[in-house]
């Protein structure tokens, strides 16, 4: 295969990854890793480097719109980023001592969990009484809706912070945004309304991924020949996805993609178990 063919096929694949990632809310990174390893037989370390870049591009691109609309809770994001960035750096350090096959199995497990999280029932209710810690940290806020601003309060800040640290470790270890774990911490644990938790999670993914990306860049995980089609393809796909989302209800698509992603996850676990990485 020539470099040109590889680039064009990967560009198309990364475009689809960005599209699927944006429609399901899983992010482009989770589709990039199986695409590179299972289809192109690229070493999983290069795949992790590329996936981190895809996560940063995806997150920063989408966050720019949400932040301007005022849905994202910037203080909450900044506070929780202490946990995710510290976790991500720890994850990048642990990665050196983790066999690539173990990483592949762990990746498959997280992928299954993410697919399940995508189709679960979402928290729409805004809490009217929050915890003292949430008040002290100024995490209670409001977000705009068609019917005017809705105020919300938070609880279980400590538990949410701990899950965020775990999300950071996974992100640093596997090169993904860990969006599903972040939403679990905010949505199910801290009881933040769905719109706020997804956009704030997205906002944090860029910083979390950057924390481990600088380590991986220095380790040589980022290859320019792979980064080029992946970054541009994922960005293009995510852009198309965000345009499509406003015009169609992706509910059916979501189920199809989640099923497809589950098969990919099983394949990753199977190959990891058989030492194929």
């Amino acid at each position: 295969m020539t470099i040109l063919t590889f680039t064009l096929i990967l560009l198309a694949g990364a475009y689809l990854a960005g599209l699927v990632g944006s429609l399901t809310g899983l992010g482009g990174g989770v589709v990039v890793i199986p695409l590179l390893t299972l289809v192109f037989h690229v070493d999983i370390r290069y795949a992790i480097g590329a996936a981190l870049l895809a996560s940063i591009a995806n997150s920063s691109g989408a966050a720019s719109a949400y932040v301007k609309e005022g849905i994202t809770n910037i203080r909450l994001g900044m506070f929780l980023e202490i946990a995710t960035t510290a976790g991500a750096v720890a994850g990048a350090v642990i990665a050196v001592y983790t066999p690539t096959n173990t990483i592949a199995i762990l990746f498959g497990a997280i992928l299954l969990f993410s697919a399940a999280m995508t189709i679960r029932k979402k928290n729409q209710e805004a809490l009217t009484t929050g915890s003292a810690l949430s008040l002290k940290l100024k995490l209670d806020s409001s977000y705009p809706t068609k019917e005017g601003p809705v105020s919300y309060k938070l609880k279980n800040v400590g538990a949410g912070f701990s899950i965020m640290a775990l999300a950071g470790i996974m992100s640093g270890l596997l090169g993904i945004g860990s969006g599903a774990l972040k939403v679990l911490a905010m949505d199910s644990t801290m009881h933040i309304p769905f719109k706020v938790s997804t956009t704030t999670s997205n906002f944090m993914i860029g910083v979390t991924a950057a924390a481990s990306a600088v380590v991986y860049l220095q380790r040589g995980y980022m290859d320019p020949g792979i980064a080029f089609p992946v970054v541009l393809g994922v960005l293009g796909g995510a852009f198309t996805g965000s345009k499509l989302l406003t015009r169609l209800d992706p509910k059916v698509l979501k189920y199809i993609f989640c099923l497809a992603i589950s098969f990919v996850a099983v394949e990753m676990i199977y190959n990891g178990y058989n030492h194929q990485f």
Binding site: I3, L53, I56, S60, G61, I74, G220, V231
Partner: protein
């Protein structure tokens, strides 16, 4: 009291607008650099056989420090240009933290100045902490 609250919200809105723009331009600029480098790369080496990506060679490939990347930029090396775009992309969210810090300083929000400084120090450890190995 009411006045203080509305002033506080106004500053928050300002920061949101600014961060939104900064993230957008960061992504646009980095993807343009990657595209430029990528087109040169394809033009120069598009017909060559694919490197063996199934073998991980790590740092031996170069482009793993700012110094190496800048040196490569001087000679208009296509892969260095792409990698420079990658660095701009990674720097985008890190810059966002720095700009948030400025925002919280303007708002005189001591608690969040401290929180932002902690996040920024974690980033600095990651960049300069020699965690390579």
């Amino acid at each position: 009291m009411k006045k203080i609250i509305s002033k506080h919200l106004f500053a928050d809105r300002d920061m949101e607008q600014f961060i939104g723009l900064q993230l957008r331009y960061g992504v646009i600029i980095s993807s343009l650099i990657v595209l430029t480098g990528g087109l040169i790369y394809l033009q120069q080496s598009g017909g060559l056989a694919l490197p063996a990506y199934s073998q991980f060679i790590g740092t031996k490939a170069g482009f793993t420090s700012i110094g190496q990347i800048i040196t490569g930029l001087g000679t208009l090396n296509a892969r260095s240009i792409i990698q420079f775009g990658v660095v701009v992309l990674i720097a985008t969210p890190i810059l966002r933290i720095a700009f948030s810090l400025v925002g919280f300083v303007i708002e005189k929000d001591r608690l969040y100045i401290l929180i932002t400084l902690i996040v920024l120090s974690v980033m600095m450890i990651s960049i300069f902490g020699g965690l390579k190995v």
